[in-house]
């Protein structure tokens, strides 16, 4: 069991041991290693191969300690502390042992520190200075690896899109191989040969391109693995770090930006370990996503559309123009009919300012942060809203004995949570189940992967309940009541409808019923589905039937960096009552107008009832799953203001485009999916004349004579909102669920899901060159079987046609998919994949044909 897992356990119930460590009496929970115990009391024991999140292997032999009555030196990373043990961490013998190990490691190490990027933050360098000798007794020629195809003397070998390997520097601690396999479940890196010619390398014919590959570089104790974005750019001692957060996932991975004082540029990102969130692992999107900020394509100045063409103007002119247009609309219609759409990746201050502007300046409830979801419910306490508001804790995954992931491709949506589940899989071996309409790689840790027919989500959940009833593992009177509310009402019918195996469903039902601590997480398949309310109602029924939330957690996970914050700050057309109350108090007014969400706004723009729209950071043209609908709506607008970091399809339609500062360019607070508010600090100055969203809002509001948009007033409002518990009470009654049926027209038969690529998130990451080195264009992902059936091979161009649009995409054959479901990433502007979708469809369907050249 890892030290980290142990640390999280309550100390009271665990038996302890007391032993002597360098003369100090230390008491630790039984099973704690001597190394961990020493770390806890601040005694330094040097290590190379040890990592807090990996199982110890005792390979480097650096962590020797001397134990009384034990004849040999012991490796402390694998030595459990025992009662009465007398341990010396700095005796003569220990010092001699360490020196010997360092001597061995340095025998063939190149000592090319001046040209090595690890210099300055190298474990080997540091420990040699601290524990080594400055003499060299090795008088043979150092062994050298040479790559035939390379001409440099450094044996630089590219083993992945972003990783360069130097085998000569490698000290074979195997941390990279172990982390890749153990922590990430990836097998694209391995060790080859044996003895002193052992080498780390990508698997033959492959490359290290998994979504967590950057971590391998970060944990390398020497300069054997370096990433191509950092190497040869700057020496580490010339940089300073700024604590920040990942802007591309909802758990708020803690990171550090590396910057240099004289250049307004970020050099890299490393993890700023926070065990309650990320365990020190960050995904590649988190690691390389900072390049978005550095991009040369950033909007530098405001643009105004003049004679159909957007031209650069000053901020004054842009703000004046917006104020004039605002007054024009107000005068011509007699009221302000303006809406607002904001990105949930922005900070609290920006979100709150924006909401305040829409509600007090525009006097409207036309506001939403969910610009890429279709057919959202309007009422905040819909089943979806209820389940969405339930609390969730990442750390609780660690000691759950049953973990169910429903409708979530975790690696793509919630990489941190996936790694957390994987950790549980490695250490506490809970029962893990995955339920999805298509099979996913993230299910590799699952005991059983349930793949149900696309579009039958609520029936799949209903089937779990019915299986529980058949197995008699739920309360009988509740079961009788439950059956009255659902159609189909027998396990046989339900399992036939959703295509799941009855026996397997019974196993899941039994696990949920018998589990002592359950984590049930729900993902984007549900959030994005038009039928999200029915599916969630089924989940609420299941929750009630099994009493699940009373012994664990069930929640729909937030997807973006500040989605949870946006919900808590009431960036919704109709926030829940306590939030509304808080807003009323702070704003001293609250609009009476009809609340309209993204769909409502677009519909009313088409009816010309909304004349103007502010879009901040969102890109509905690219991401809303019905491109035509958005395009027609935006074309109808009298006035569109778009703030973004880049020119996008949405900014193209705008009358005014304002350059937005990125999250690294100002201080901001973000609420992660657990509801924890964390701060990101400014690392660099905003690019060009770009400004933070709250600054832009303040400029506009002040121009329109509204004075209370200063930072202090806004922060006060944010604070008041965040203090409110937004959890909505779970319903007491079972809800009626009737399975929706859908006719599949013959021609368009393949269900298609629009996903985020494993190395991209939303519309911004396309601007990070490192991430494009992994995936640079959209693809049509299909199962091997389907490809073979259609005689398609990897990278063949394929025509994808829906009823409304068609696209040509290269084929990508997936190892995990095994049905006729197709997946397309939405992250590439050049492939408008959302044009294939129709917003009123529950499942989008297409036909595919090979493009003959």
């Amino acid at each position: 069991m890892s030290e980290a897992v142990k640390k999280d356990q309550p100390k009271v119930s665990v038996p302890t041991v007391t032993f002597s460590l360098d003369g100090q009496s230390v008491t630790v929970p039984k099973g704690t290693t001597v190394l961990q115990a020493a770390k806890d009391v601040g005694i330094h024991i040097p290590t190379f191969c040890w990592h807090p999140q990996l199982k110890s292997v005792g390979a480097c032999r650096m962590c020797y300690v001397e134990v009384e009555k034990m004849p040999k030196l012991m490796v402390s990373c694998m030595l459990d502390a025992m009662d009465g043990m007398v341990v010396q961490t700095d005796s003569d013998q220990v010092r001699q042992g360490r020196k010997a190990v360092l001597e061995f490691i340095l025998l063939n190490h190149p000592l090319d520190c001046p040209t090595c990027d690890k210099g300055g933050e190298c474990d080997l360098q540091n420990l040699t200075f601290k524990h080594g000798v400055d003499d060299n007794r090795f008088d043979f020629k150092k062994a050298r690896f040479k790559e035939e195809s390379m001409t440099t003397t450094f044996d630089d070998k590219k083993i992945g899109p972003e990783i360069v390997l130097n085998r000569n520097r490698c000290i074979l601690c195997y941390k990279c191989v172990r982390a890749n396999k153990e922590a990430f479940g990836e097998y694209d890196l391995g060790a080859f040969e044996r003895g002193n010619i052992t080498q780390i390398d990508a698997v033959p014919g492959g490359e290290v391109c998994n979504p967590f590959s950057g971590n391998l570089v970060e944990i390398c104790p020497v300069g054997a693995l370096t990433n191509s974005d950092w190497r040869y750019k700057i020496r580490v001692w010339l940089t300073k770090t700024t604590p920040s957060l990942c802007n591309f996932n909802s758990s708020g991975s803690n990171i550090d930006f590396y910057k240099e004082d004289h250049q307004n540029k970020i050099f890299r990102v490393t993890s700023r370990t926070n065990d309650s969130i990320d365990d020190g692992w960050i995904s590649d999107i988190t690691r390389y996503g900072y390049q978005v900020i550095n991009s040369a394509d950033r909007l530098q100045k405001p643009l105004i559309k003049k004679d159909g063409k957007q031209v650069e103007v000053s901020w004054d002119e842009a703000i004046n123009f917006i104020a004039k247009k605002y007054n024009d609309i107000k005068e011509s219609v007699g009221r302000v009919c303006i809406g607002g759409l904001i990105s949930p990746s922005l900070d609290n201050r920006s979100l709150y300012s924006f909401s305040k502007m829409i509600r007090t300046v525009c006097k409207s409830n036309n506001i939403d942060f969910r610009g890429d979801y279709r057919m959202l419910p309007n009422n905040p306490d819909s089943p979806f809203g209820v389940l969405r508001s339930q609390p969730f804790s990442i750390a609780e995954i660690d000691d759950s004995d049953v973990i169910v992931s429903f409708g979530s491709d975790l690696i793509h949506e919630h990489p941190n949570e996936y790694l957390r589940i994987r950790k549980a899989f490695n250490y506490t071996q809970p029962k893990i189940y995955s339920m999805m309409p298509y099979s996913v790689k993230s299910a590799d840790v699952a005991n059983i992967e349930y793949v149900y027919t696309p579009g039958t989500d609520e029936t799949a959940i209903n089937a779990i309940c019915l299986a529980g009833i058949e197995e008699n593992v739920v309360d009988a009177s509740m079961a009788t009541e439950y059956i009255k509310h659902v159609v189909p009402s027998t396990l046989k019918d339900a399992s036939a409808l959703c295509g799941l195996d009855e026996a397997e469903l019974k196993i899941l039902a039994r696990s949920i019923a018998e589990g002592k601590k359950i984590t049930f997480l729900v993902g984007e398949i549900v959030t994005r589905s038009k039928a999200r309310d029915i599916i969630t109602a089924a989940l609420l029924n299941m929750n009630k039937l099994f009493g699940l939330s009373s012994k664990g957690q069930i929640s729909i996970l937030a997807r973006y960096a500040n989605s949870k914050g946006a919900e808590k700050l009431g960036i919704l057309p109709d926030p829940i009552a306590p939030i509304k109350e808080a807003l009323k108090n702070d704003f001293e007014e609250y609009p009476e107008s009809e609340p309209r969400n993204t769909d409502g706004m677009m519909a009313h723009i088409r009816k010309e009832e909304i004349k103007g729209l502010f879009i901040v950071g969102s890109n509905p043209m690219m991401l809303y799953p019905d491109k035509e609908f958005i395009k027609e709506s935006l074309d109808k607008l009298d006035f569109l203001v778009v703030c973004d970091l880049f020119e996008t399809e949405t900014t193209e339609a705008a009358d005014v485009v304002l350059p937005l500062a990125g999250w690294a360019e100002y201080d901001g607070d973000y609420v992660n999916l657990e509801g924890v508010c964390q701060s990101a600090k400014q690392a660099v100055k905003p690019a060009g004349e770009s400004k933070a969203a709250y600054e832009i809002v303040r400029l506009i509001a002040e121009k329109l004579e509204h004075k209370t948009f200063d930072v202090e007033s806004i922060d006060k409002g944010v604070e008041a909102c965040l203090a409110i518990d937004t959890t909505i009470k779970l319903p007491n009654e079972f809800l009626d669920i009737k399975a929706e049926s859908e006719d599949v027209t013959g021609e368009f038969s393949h269900p298609i899901f629009i996903i985020d690529d494993a190395h991209h998130c939303g519309h911004l990451t396309e601007k990070a060159p490192s991430l494009n080195n992994f995936t640079a264009e959209a693809y049509l992902m299909m199962s091997e079987e389907l490809a073979a059936k259609n005689n398609m091979q990897e990278n063949d161009p394929v025509r994808v046609e829906s009823e409304v649009s068609k696209l040509i995409l290269p084929v990508k054959i997936s190892e995990s998919l095994d049905s006729d479901v197709l997946l397309i990433p939405r992250n590439f502007q050049s492939s408008p994949v959302t044009s294939l979708c129709m917003r009123k469809r529950r499942i989008d369907r297409v036909k595919i044909s090979k493009v003959d050249e």
């Binding site: 390979a59 020797y64 010997a100 074979l172 003895g195």
Partner: protein
């Protein structure tokens, strides 16, 4: 039918009722199941399933005094008793047939010529720990052994000695013949388990010991071929009989692989405590030194054991007596070399082997063996420098007892002993830039 031309003392074993392992090895029919059964084969296995309790079985093996024949000499019955009785996990019995210690070729003879004895021993061991799936991990280069074991396994399945509900007892037992990929380290039990799991053949740190957390993190017992082959005899003839063979502390008979400069190199079964001098000079065994060139030294227990000088060979071949001479019984591979052999040359060959076979996991062994090889090669080539011997001794000291598995120790123990026992010869190499004996070196 293939037979490797190995000299054995089967004729003696056939007459001496205490020698049981080699009793029938010269009979080509012995590897056929009918012959094997007609000579009492699978009788012990049947007897066990017909009503010997696990505790009794383990106690019998404990009482027999049988110790692991792979090299470490750990009591077999005691090892079996370490498997937790209440573990909900599956248990595994693994027969270690990755015989690769230089000089050792005893298990090979058993596998080629008496494979059913091994299967029977494995089955009894499996039953003792409550295992339903047993493995035999055979060295990849042993083609004939693999063929023989697979054929024997199929026969055993066909005749109902393995499979579902063996002899109607309700006990299921399956067997897998697993072949290695040619790494010495996979003879080390934890590396062997990694290899079966499909991982790199690298040893694991202990604890946890395999009996608690071995194959697939489940309780696992790894036993040597020879140890298991002795088990059916213990069941058939009783622990007391077995314990009566050998010495006070080293009980039973043992196979020795005699090689080097002797007239009759081969595999010999003798009771433990047999005299080493007899082994070399007795006409029924080694038959004396080849060409009557005087003896220079003996490696008594496989390449990794310290040397014995000619005046030390009047010693009993058992665990304790060899330990008194600062050496080890090891796997029972006796390598004899005469005066025409250069000790530096021997060490050069040995360290080359160990450097090549070091798995690369832990630092001292991986780096140290390579450094030692470079130094020994240099001395052997007449380019040694003053201080090299002292440096070698220090490097050996930095490896000994500091590695994950015994490979590091195995590599340095012969070097340390050679440096101690033949110091003058090493020094001569360095001082005179040439070999002391090479001029009349004849052995190829």
């Amino acid at each position: 039918m293939h037979y490797s031309p190995v000299i054995t003392n089967a004729d003696i074993a056939a007459k001496d009722e205490n020698l049981h392992l080699f009793q029938y090895v010269e009979d080509s029919k012995q590897c056929e199941i009918d012959t094997f059964v007609s000579r009492g084969g699978y009788k012990a296995w049947k007897k066990v399933l017909e009503g010997i309790s696990r505790e009794d079985l383990i106690n019998t093996v404990k009482a027999s005094g049988l110790r692991g024949r792979g090299g470490a000499g750990f009591p077999t019955g005691l090892k079996w008793s370490f498997v937790p009785k209440d573990s909900p996990k599956a248990r595994y019995m693994v027969c270690n047939a990755d015989e690769s210690e230089p000089g050792t070729c005893k298990d090979r003879v058993l596998m080629e010529r008496d494979p059913h004895a091994i299967i029977e021993g494995m089955a009894i061991g499996a039953y003792a720990i409550g295992c339903h799936l047993m493995f035999i991990y055979i060295r990849g280069e042993f083609d004939h052994c693999i063929d023989k074991m697979e054929a024997a396994m199929e026969e055993a399945y066909a005749k109902g000695h393995l499979g579902k509900n063996v002899y109607g007892s309700g006990y299921d037992l399956d067997m897998i013949v697993h072949t290695g990929g040619g790494a010495y380290i996979c003879g080390e039990e934890t590396a062997l388990l990694n290899s079966i799991e499909g991982e790199r053949g690298q040893s694991r740190m202990r604890p946890p010991f395999p009996a608690i957390e071995g194959l697939y993190a489940s309780p696992t017992i790894v036993n040597n071929v020879e140890s298991l082959a002795a088990v059916p005899h213990i069941i058939n003839r009783g622990a007391e009989w077995y314990a009566s063979i050998g010495t006070e502390k080293s009980k039973g008979s043992k196979l020795f692989s005699l090689s080097g400069h002797v007239n009759r190199p081969g595999n010999f079964e003798v009771p433990l405590g047999f005299n080493l001098k007899d082994m070399i000079y007795n006409p029924d065994y080694g038959g004396g030194m080849l060409g009557d060139v005087p003896l220079k030294g003996v490696i008594p227990g496989g390449a990794s054991t310290p040397f014995l000088l000619p005046d030390m060979i009047d010693v009993a071949l058992d665990y304790e007596s060899l330990q008194e001479k600062d050496s080890m019984l090891g796997s029972g591979a006796i390598i004899v070399f005469n005066e025409n052999t250069c000790i530096v040359w021997i060490l050069k060959k040995l360290i080359h082997f160990f450097r090549h076979e070091s798995c690369g996991k832990c630092t001292p062994c991986r780096e140290g063996t390579a450094w030692l090889e470079q130094m020994i090669n240099r001395i052997e080539a007449g380019q040694g420098e003053a201080g090299d011997l002292e440096k070698m001794e220090e490097v050996c000291g930095n490896i000994l007892g500091r590695t994950i598995c015994p490979l590091g120790d195995a590599a340095v123990m012969p070097i340390q002993s050679a440096l101690r026992l033949y110091r003058d010869e090493w020094q001569y190499h360095i001082d005179h830039k040439k070999c002391m004996v090479k001029s009349n070196f004849e052995f190829k």
